[in-house]
Subunit: 206 residues, 2 copies
C-alpha cells in the first residue's frame, strides 16, 4: 500500500497519473497549500523539504518526482512504464525527467516562487517578467529535439509522458504561446483524453 | 568506449569520478567555458542544451548528471555504485541526486548564472545576495536529514557521494560557513583523499 501526498495544480499530478497507470494500490492525500499545510509539523515529519509530492511506501518515504516515477516504473514492471532493464534507454527516460525537474520546472517556479532566490520585490518582479522567455526556451528545445512522438520516448508510453503533461498544464499561464508548440500541445491533448489522466485530475480537482 | 565532455569547476566532475569508480573505458574531453565552447555549433551538435556534462556512448548521447550517474552504475554493476536492482533503495539514491540537481545546484547557480532567470542587473545582484541563505538551507537539510554517514546512503559508497562532493566544492564561495556543516565537510575531506577523486581532479585541473 502506497500513500501519495499531493497538492492540486502541482507537479505531484505526474506521480498520481503514474500510480494509476501502474495499477498500484494507493491512497492519495491532499495537502492544502492555501492552508500552508506543507510547512506544518505533521507534513514536515513526512517530508522535511516542505514540498509535494511525497510518497509513503512499505519501505519508507520517497520524494522528488523523477525518483518517484522511476520507483513506480520499477516496482510495477507489468505496466511497462519505463525500460528499466536497459541502462541506456532508462537513462534517456531519466535524463528527460531530470530536465523537466531541474530546468523547465525551475524556470516556471520563478513566476510564483521567486522568493526562494531573492528577497526584494523588484527582483521577484524581474524574475516573473523573464518566465515567458525562460520557459519558452525549454519548450522550444522539447518541441524540436526531445519529444520523439507520438510519446516522449517514441512508440512506447513511459513515465516521461505524465510528467510532461503535468508541466504542460502551465504553458499559457507562463506566458508561452502554445501555437509555437504544436507537438507539445498535441501530446497534451492526447494525454488529456486518457482515462487514467482524467481519473487523476478528477480526484485532485474534486 | 565512452566520451565524457566536461568543464573544470562544474558538476561534470561527479560523472568523471563515477566513470573512474566504475573502471569504465572512457576519454574525458574538456570544454572551455572561457572560450564559450559550450555554445558553439560543434558542441551544440552533441548537447543542444549548451551545458556540461554530456556523455557519448555506443548507443547515443546522454545528458543530465542524475541520469548519467545512474547509467554508469547500471552499466558497470561490478563496481556496485548503486542498488540498481532494489527499486526502493535505488529511488532513494535517485531522490538524493535529484535534490542536488534541482534544488541545491539551482540555488548555487543564482550566484553566477542569474541571467538565466532575470535580465536586469539589480535583480541579478539581489539573487546573488540570497545565495548564502538558499544554499545554506539546502546544506542544513543535507547535514541534518539526508547524509546518513559515513557515505550519503550509509555504509555503502554510491553515485550520491561523488555528486555531493562535487557540489560541496563551492560551499565557501557560496558564502556558507563550513563550520556549521561538520558532517558534510567530513564527507568532503574523506572523498578528497580517495585515489579516484584525486585522479579526476588532476585530469580536470591539469
Amino acid at each position: 500500500m502506497i500513500t501519495l501526498y499531493y497538492a492540486a495544480h502541482t507537479c505531484s499530478l505526474a506521480s498520481h497519473i503514474a500510480l494509476i497507470d501502474a495499477r498500484a494500490d494507493f491512497t492519495a492525500v491532499r495537502i492544502s497549500f492555501a492552508a500552508d499545510e506543507q510547512r506544518q509539523p505533521p507534513y514536515l515529519a513526512i517530508n522535511p523539504k516542505g514540498r509535494v509530492p511525497a510518497m509513503v511506501t512499505p519501505r519508507g518515504i520517497l520524494t522528488e518526482t523523477p525518483a518517484m516515477l522511476a520507483f513506480i516504473a520499477q516496482s510495477f514492471p507489468a505496466a511497462r512504464l519505463a525500460p528499466v532493464g536497459d541502462a541506456f534507454a532508462f537513462a534517456q527516460v531519466q535524463a528527460f525527467n531530470s530536465y523537466l525537474c531541474a530546468t523547465l520546472h525551475v524556470a516556471h517556479a520563478h513566476r510564483m516562487r521567486g522568493y526562494r532566490w531573492a528577497d526584494d520585490a523588484a527582483a521577484i518582479a524581474a524574475m516573473r517578467r523573464k518566465v515567458p522567455q525562460a520557459v519558452g526556451d525549454c519548450y522550444d528545445l522539447i518541441e524540436r529535439d526531445m519529444l520523439k512522438g507520438p510519446w516522449v520516448m517514441g512508440e512506447s508510453y513511459t513515465i516521461c509522458d505524465p510528467y510532461l503533461f503535468t508541466l504542460a498544464q502551465w504553458i499559457e499561464d507562463d506566458g508561452v504561446d502554445p501555437t509555437r508548440l504544436p507537438r507539445v500541445i498535441d501530446h497534451r491533448n492526447r494525454m488529456s483524453e486518457r482515462a487514467h489522466v482524467r481519473r487523476a485530475l478528477a480526484e485532485e480537482l474534486a
